[in-house]
Amino acid sequence: MEAGVSCIIPCRNGQPYLLEAIASAVAEGVDEVIVVDDGSTDASAASAQSACGPVRVLCQAGQGASAARNAGLAVARHGLIAFLDADDLWPAGSMTLRRQALAAEPALDAVYGHVQQFHSPELDAQARSRLICSPGSLAARTFGSIVFRRRVFDRLGTFDVDLGQGEMFDFMARFSDAPLTISCLPDIVLLRRIHGANMMHPSGGGVKGYPRALKAILDRRRRTQPRA
């Protein structure tokens, strides 16, 4: 497992859980954690600076999650790139499993695994009953579950900052269409925290970017794969 790992944590007002996220990354033996504070009005940046381990903190004016991830990418020093949301956790062994999978197959461009959701411990019974936390796990190519080789970004470029929450649709479509190779592990590699009224509703701003991202994908495929 020769390549080191840069873990990028984008964060805006993520202080309540940020230190836990950082600690889970450090415990997994990553070589650096880059926290990109995107204009937080809470003490996220100060919290990150107080964290133990190889942690760097970048601060930028609020430009969005994609821009924060791109800022982290720009300064990442290692050959493997992973992302972790500021309220999520990597379970023990998560990074080792993913690094081993990549080390075993040099042709593989990325690896991901299963995601399991959990209710944040501070939620009371009423909140837990109201907030859906699906049992079991789902194999999902979401930010915190994937480890990319750096060459992926050399080839595909960075995240499209104009697509909002649709950035991952766009990026993974570019990944698939390149085509680059990704492998799925049967193991749980990401714990996704359910912590409050954060269930996305179609009327909310968070999904606004989805149709535009999907339209961009379809248009690109029509240009490059005429039968798509």
């Binding site: 309540p16 179609p202 989805y210």
Partner: protein, 145 residues
């Protein structure tokens, strides 16, 4: 005549450059409809009934109502079957002006197609967990529950 209602609790959609892009957040499947299909979806979103939608399409395309009917019915049936819309019998259709621009000349008619895609399902099924609201930051800060 029935009007239709988009299942807004699970659907996010937008007409972009004349194409309807529809994402079902519950199933993770997304859909596209171009041309006549995009007009049908636009009409459904605006609360128009089949007569109004038919009139609009016949203004824009070289098709008569009788020839359009099978395609329109199939499209709406597919939208209902995929749980994108629900039919609302007895509900009055919208009376607003349909302001979407018409092409300068009527276009050749191509039957509408609701095309579905499942390649982003895993991402869509997980993404709803992390809402992003500007005032809350992202990932969402803890809130009182």
């Amino acid at each position: 005549m029935s009007a239709f209602k988009v299942r807004n609790a699970r659907i996010v959609s937008e007409i972009i450059d004349g194409e309807a892009i529809i994402m079902d957040l519950k199933s993770g499947i997304y859909f596209s409809a171009q041309g006549v299909g995009a007009i049908i979806w636009d009409g459904i979103m605006r609360g128009f009934d089949k007569n109004q939608i038919t009139h609009r399409i016949c203004q824009a395309y070289l098709v008569e109502p009788g020839d359009l009917a099978p395609g329109l019915e199939d499209f709406i049936a597919a939208a209902v079957a995929n749980i994108l819309v629900e039919e609302l019998p007895g509900i009055a259709a919208a009376t607003e002006d349909w302001s979407i621009a018409l092409p300068g000349a009527r276009l050749p008619y191509v039957p509408p197609v609701l095309q579905s895609y499942g390649d982003m399902q895993d991402l869509a099924l997980l993404d709803p967990i992390h809402d992003v609201r500007e005032e809350e930051g992202w990932p969402s800060r803890k809130v009182d529950v």
